[in-house]
């Protein structure tokens, strides 16, 4: 295990751990969605970092580097980057849907807190409020 | 051998870095939102613009792009800092105790009175 591996994967997974911790320990719906966004960022970083090859350039060729020949051996892996590009855009769509559902929850119950993991108001007091 | 072009560019970049450092220092040291905002704005106007010009001078093929960046920063930076300061004032962030003058508050009150009458 090299030190670069330890630093890169370790820091990314710590970020992911912060996101998981937020999801597990917070009860506010918007805070949950926010923690989910942090976890999403960390997972995207992890996927792209798998495709990184040290000492190579971005997967774009220009006039100088091999428009004619194959640029293999000069660029990093473009496949995880394409996947992550898709994942980021889809992530925004899911976040927007989750947020509008959270707004609907607030409108019908008057609170954003999840007192128990159930649908709708969880006890009588909240319904009265 | 380092050319005169590189030296001029590096001088610009050094000025920019100095102003970025001063801006960061101001963000930490100054007392309230408005003073801090002023420090941050200065760090963009002098810092980022001078770094962009320095890069353009070192590599002359990047100069048009650098000038575009400079123009865009000069357009947007005063706008955003104005919007942030106005939003802070309108949402009730207090001024620092030692502030001397507040021209916006009375003007805002006068404006609201006029709108209330009409």
């Amino acid at each position: 295990m090299e030190v670069t591996e330890l630093v890169v994967y370790g820091s990314i997974l710590l970020l992911a751990a912060v996101g998981i911790w937020g999801i597990l320990s917070r009860r506010n719906l918007i805070k949950l969605i926010l923690s989910l966004t942090i976890l999403q960022t960390a997972v995207n970083l992890l996927l792209v970092s798998v495709g990184y090859i040290s000492g190579r350039s971005a997967p774009i060729v220009n006039g100088d580097t091999g428009l004619d020949g194959s640029p293999i051996g000069e660029i990093v892996d473009p496949l995880p980057q394409a996947l992550v590009l898709t994942a980021i855009v889809i992530g925004l769509a899911t976040t927007a849907i989750a947020l509008i559902v959270a707004v609907g929850y607030y409108r019908s119950t008057g609170t954003l807190e999840l007192k128990s993991w159930s649908y709708g108001p969880s006890n009588e007091k909240e319904v009265k409020k | 051998m380092i050319g005169i072009q590189t030296i001029i560019g590096m001088a610009f970049i050094s000025i920019g870095l100095l102003f970025q450092f001063l801006g960061a220092l101001g963000l930490v040291r100054l007392p309230d939102v408005y003073n801090r905002l002023q420090a941050a704005t200065k760090s963009i106007t002098m810092g980022a613009i001078s770094i962009a010009i320095g890069v353009g001078v070192i590599d002359l093929s990047l100069l048009p792009k650098a000038l575009l960046v400079v123009i865009f920063l000069m357009l947007t930076n005063p706008l955003s800092s104005h919007a942030i300061a106005r939003a802070a004032y309108n949402s009730g962030v207090p001024l620092w105790k030692g502030s001397v003058v507040d021209r916006y508050g009375p003007a805002l009150k006068k404006l609201q009175k006029r709108r209330g009458r009409s």
């Binding site: 320990s25 428009l67 293999i72 509008i100 | -």
Partner: protein
């Protein structure tokens, strides 16, 4: 503010999160960081990197993968965005009405004039990003989002302005139709849906090159811009 949290209650959550992270870390150490994994023959990335410039004519490999090799997937992705936008519209219309807010403070002269000055530049930059998607970093998604953020600036500065949902829906539908139409051209001429039939046209590295990729990215850019604007305008209109 944050001192009031009782940290000891979330200790199991922290432990569980660290456990998950450690497990994934243990798995990923085997993969290795920064090693040349694409160089051996037979891997998918290797095939893409070796043949992409000849097959698609695109200088940007991410664009080649997103639009050409996985073009059908991108069509599905844009459809997911459309569904999210439509679903938000449906949920917003079914929500109970919220409490009335006080009227927003009208924008100052500096902001309105500056926005009118900056907005065309932002839209121009967004179009630049998605037209040059096959040559430089960027593409339809990024350019579309830049255009959407410019329109959102307008939406924030002028609170009275309502987003033109009809025009947005029209441009979105036209862009989606042209995306599918380009795919059907590929099906008719080359026998494969979204086949890049004119990839030989133009010189690689110039603006007119890479066949159908710029056209598809322009369609994606317009579609994503319209969808994102509609999405955020619906979220803003939640209190109306």
């Amino acid at each position: 503010m944050m001192e009031r949290y009782d940290i000891h209650r979330s200790i199991p959550a922290i432990l569980l999160a660290l456990l998950v992270a450690a497990t994934i870390f243990y798995a990923f150490v085997e993969v290795g960081f920064g090693e040349a994994k694409v160089d051996e023959e037979g891997s998918v990335s290797n095939r893409f990197i070796s043949n992409s410039t000849q097959e698609t004519g695109s200088s940007n490999f991410v664009t080649a993968v997103v639009v050409n090799y996985r073009g059908f997937d991108t069509l599905g992705e844009v459809t997911v965005l459309f569904l999210a936008s439509a679903g938000m519209g449906a949920i917003v219309s079914a929500l109970p009405a919220g409490d009335k807010r006080k009227r927003p403070i009208p924008p100052s002269l500096i902001l309105t004039a500056g926005t009118r000055l900056v907005l065309p530049l932002i839209i121009l930059f967004g179009s630049y990003v998605f037209v040059h998607g096959h040559l430089s970093p960027g593409g339809g998604f990024q350019g579309g989002v830049i255009i959407a953020s410019g329109l959102l600036l307008y939406l924030v500065i002028f609170p009275e302005w309502k987003a033109p949902h009809k025009a947005l829906a029209l441009s979105e539908s036209l862009a989606g139709l042209s995306f599918a139409g380009i795919g059907i051209i590929g099906l008719a001429v080359g026998g494969i849906f979204l086949d890049n039939v004119i990839s030989g046209l133009g010189e690689a590295g110039m603006l007119v090159s890479a066949g159908l990729i710029p056209l598809i990215y322009i369609a994606i850019g317009i579609k994503v811009g319209a969808e994102m604007t509609g999405l955020v305008a619906r979220m803003k209109g939640g209190d109306a």
